[in-house]
Structure formats: structure tokens, C-alpha cells
Symmetry: C2
Subunit: 275 residues, 2 copies
DNA sequence: GATCTTGTTCGGTATCACCAAACGGGGTTA
DNA sequence: TAACCCCGTTTGGTGATACCGAACAAGATC
């Protein structure tokens, strides 16, 4: 799985050349390793030994960390003795809800997202900007059985996603260049834009027509269409998008759905007091 | 605010008589204190000094913890110098989504919850059992401007909520007694049931008609109606509910909405393979 | 421009986080 | 049924480090 986490692959991208142990609480870092390991443990969870080996620490250390997290509700356990397994606890559900609600954007946008999904028959998502990356904070699953791009809270590349390009298209060229300089233009799908001038041209087109298109630029076989949401000051606070399988969407349908997404984004914008 | 967190008020309820420092990683516990403090910091966040004083540690310790969390995406900061403030980061959005998705129930139930909210015009929620408590893992906000019972991931009292009573009503009397013995019957709203026999009688009625009613038992002026969801083995895996203001719901409307909620719960149950 | 408040930095020490090894119990196999 | 094995749990010692107090610096406020 790619991009497993908040700060996923950008360890190679972010300038972390400086001494990384400055003001670092080692034991906390280890505990966070445990949390991340459990996040990938899925529904059935991980055993103590599995946790210890995946994060590279002793069994007893992992045990203490798990016990501490357990007492605080940050992990849950089921089974006993040799069958005992640990998984993330519901405290994270609470905190995650707090975080995604904190922007205020989510409360306003989600009802319209539901309507958009119902009208378009497609999975729709709401994202915000996070240091140049796009991060989804809301999602309404469409009627299809396949779940595409299901994750919340994960950093996604701005140049390879409709939701990211929609937000970039509201910025000036130099701002875009600054962001791209720090993130780069890594290839993700068959059609990823890997050239800054091509990207800027695409962003200009997106700004003109009001929506951005990701045509297999992030994932093969998947297309997305996104539009930006502005606040009352006219600055971009996020974007919404719909996702479909390539063969589901005919070429002429893209424009139709694009204007639909644009219309809902505008509605949310005006609801926020934006112009 | 009551029940601020995962393990909220039950510090007085849970038998924590044993030595609490067994297998406790103190520094991790402190870091979790910081996280909880930030959770209550809201959108604008907390300054380093505020964090330090609320959790009772030195400024420099709080600073180190915040820096460590910051580098991992667990907190975000904005501003610089004396105006710098910290709030929870988007990693929690990712982890919270992971947790609420882990049950599998959520993926199945959410589309129906959306439909229920649209049909009933009320905020609806999805909850699971967590050691006797009810914990919401999904929510669809209704059209009303007021947000009632908005939190996810927070433990709610089983005997004082519709969603909790719906789940309790699927259990046998002795199972209910065991749960209530450990949790108690604390009063929450004007009509909270504080007597075990009254509760059992209410649960029997709920089981007969297929839905449970919370008539100002948790919060004054708020009524909820909930129904249980079963899996293929016939055991209760969760419940759904709708929430309304008391004056919005006439007495005769309760039965109508109750059967509606019951119908959607049954649909989810059959979708899960339950009978 | 003076002053106050607040974030950031630094060094020392008592604490404690970490590990290795031993223990015990449940599941599995013969 | 019994022996084995595996894995969660416990323990004690020690070297690393988490924590604090105090000093420094940089905006904000008046």
C-alpha cells in the first residue's frame, strides 16, 4: 500500500536534513511507531510479538506501550493469553472526528456532498490544503460496490489528483511553483503530469472552465473531477471531487459532471460567505 | 462538557484499584495528556504555555512533546513566535477513519443512514458496543441548523440513550444486569431511568416493538429513537438512531419514526447476512 | 521605543524506558 | 491424555533520556 500515513513517502521529499533528534522524545516516537503499526493491523489486530518485530523493539517494551495506550482507550484488545491481539481504540475515532470538524468547512459541505453523490451516483470527497498536499476530511460513498480512494486524512499529491489540482488552480503560478519545488512531480499513474509547464497549462484550463480533471493521473482506470471551494476572503479553503472508474465515464460525460461539481462547489462557497 | 474523552467519567466506575503504574510508560502518558488537551483546544489551538499549564508540566517538556508529535503529523501548528499555536493534526483523521472502518459495519450502514436522514429529516447515527457503552462511529447530520449529539468515538451511557437501549434490548436480563452493575445508572437528563427493574421493563417493551426511545433521558429537550442491528449469528453488532428536539416530534410521530428506524435497521441487518 | 509576554534553547540529574531472560498457561499435536 | 511448543506476561538492572529550571530571543502591545 502506498502512502500509508500522514507523512507518508515524503520522508524523501521533505527537507529533513537537520538534526532530527532535536527536541525529540524518543519514547513517544516509539509509541507512535506502535500506533502506526496497529493502523495497518486491520480488524483482527496484531499480537504483542508482531508489534515488537514490526517496529523493531523488544517484546516487553511493546507490551508496556500497549498497556499504557490500552488504559487510555487508544488501543483495544480482545482475546487473552496467547490469542490476545491489539488494535486501535475508539479514542482515535473521537479525535479524528474532532480534527475533521475543526475546520468548520466539513459541517457546511457534507450535506451538499451527500446530494452530489446521490445526483451523480458517484463517490464524492471533501479535501483541504495541508502544506501543499491535498487531504480528504470527508467522504460519501457512492452506490458502487468498489471503494475507490477511500482514505481520509492521508496526504495526496496535489499535481496528480483532481482535488489537488482544483486547489492549485486558484493560486498564482509562482505559488504553484513553490509548492511543486518542495513536493516534486512524482509519477503515480499512466498519465501523471511530470512537467511543471504542462501542469501550469492544465491549471489555467481548469481555472477557466471551473473544474479540474484527473484522467488516470493518480491511479490507472480511475478518473476524478474536482472543483475548489473559497471562503469569504476569496482564498481557497478546500475542494470537492467525484471519483469514477474510467470505463464508467464517457468522454462527453466529463463536461456534464464537471459543471455539476462546479455548481455544488459554488453552493458551498456561497454558504461560507464567499463570492 | 461532560464525557470529554474515550474513557470519560468512568474513572470512578472502572475498578482501577490496582497499582496504576504497572507497565505504564510515563512519558507516553504525558504525551497523551497533551493530545487530550489539544483535543479540547478547538480550531484556534493552544499555545505551548497553555498546554504546559493544563497538563501540569514544564514549558520545555511540553515543547519537546509537541515537536515530536508535529514531526509525525499528529499535531499541526500555525503562527510563529509568541503567536504560535498548536492543534491536532490530520494523522488523527486518518487513524480515526481506519478505526471506524475496521468494523466493516460502517461501510454497509452509512448509505442507509444517509437515506434515513433524508427521509426522516433528522440527524442519524450509527453506534457499536464497547464494553457496555455505546460508541457512535458514523453520523449523518440532518438539515436542522442545530447540531445535537455530534460526537463520534465518545462513550455514551447505554441506559440513557436510545442507541444504547436498542443494543441492550437484544441481550438477556442477566447480561444487562452485569453491564449495569459495572456502569451504574447515573442520572443524565430529566427522565433518566435510574432503577434496574424499570430499565428491564423498558427494554422488554423496546424489544417487542422493535425500537427504543430516549425521551429526555440523556439531555433535556432531546428525544432519540434507535433500533438494533444484528449480524448473521443473530448477535447485536450495533444500532442506529435518529435524534430530534422534543418540540419537533409530536407524540404520535414517535411510533411512525420508530417503525421507520426499525425498517432501516432491518435492511442493514439483512445486508450483513443477518436474519 | 520601552516593556511585557511568550516561544525557544540549553545543561544537569534523577528518573525511567528499554532490553534480556525467566515464567506460566493455553493450544495443538501425537 | 500428555508432552511439547509458542507466546503473552513478569521481573530486575542499567544506561540512556525525559524532565525541569533558568536563560535567551523575538513579536506584540501600549
Amino acid at each position: 500500500m502506498t502512502f500509508p500515513f500522514g507523512h507518508p513517502d515524503n520522508r524523501s521529499v521533505t527537507p529533513n536534513s537537520d538534526n532530527a533528534d532535536k527536541y525529540r522524545v524518543k519514547s513517544l516516537d516509539h509509541a507512535l511507531d506502535v500506533v502506526e503499526a496497529l493502523a495497518h493491523g486491520g480488524r483482527e489486530g496484531l499480537a504483542v510479538t508482531e508489534v515488537a518485530t514490526t517496529v523493531g523493539m523488544s517484546k516487553s517494551s511493546a507490551y508496556s506501550i500497549l498497556q499504557t495506550l490500552l488504559r487510555r482507550g487508544f488501543v483495544a484488545s480482545h482475546g487473552t493469553g496467547p490469542t490476545r491481539r491489539y488494535r486501535l481504540g475508539l479514542s482515535f475515532a473521537y479525535l479524528g472526528d474532532q480534527v475533521t470538524s475543526q475546520t468548520g468547512l466539513r459541517e457546511v459541505a457534507m450535506p451538499y456532498l451527500e446530494e452530489l453523490t446521490r445526483v451523480a451516483g458517484l463517490t464524492s470527497r471533501l479535501a483541504i490544503f495541508d502544506e501543499g498536499y491535498a487531504v480528504a476530511i470527508g467522504r460519501i460513498d457512492g452506490p458502487g460496490t468498489i471503494r475507490i480512494a477511500p482514505f481520509l486524512g492521508r496526504r495526496e499529491l496535489p499535481h496528480a489528483t483532481a482535488i489537488g489540482k482544483a486547489m492549485l488552480s486558484t493560486l498564482g503560478d509562482d505559488e504553484v511553483r513553490t509548492i511543486i519545488e518542495s513536493i516534486g512531480l512524482p509519477a503515480r499513474g499512466p498519465n501523471t503530469i511530470v512537467d511543471i509547464d504542462t501542469l501550469l497549462h492544465d491549471l489555467h484550463r481548469s481555472a477557466e472552465r471551473g473544474y479540474a480533471v484527473d484522467d488516470e493521473e493518480d491511479t490507472a482506470g480511475v478518473v476524478c473531477i474536482g472543483a475548489s471551494v473559497l471562503d469569504r476572503t476569496g482564498t481557497c479553503v478546500g475542494a470537492i471531487s467525484v471519483t469514477a472508474l474510467k470505463h464508467e465515464m464517457r468522454a462527453d460525460a466529463a463536461a456534464e459532471i464537471g459543471t455539476l461539481v462546479r455548481r455544488y462547489a459554488d453552493t458551498i462557497t456561497t454558504e461560507l460567505g464567499g463570492r
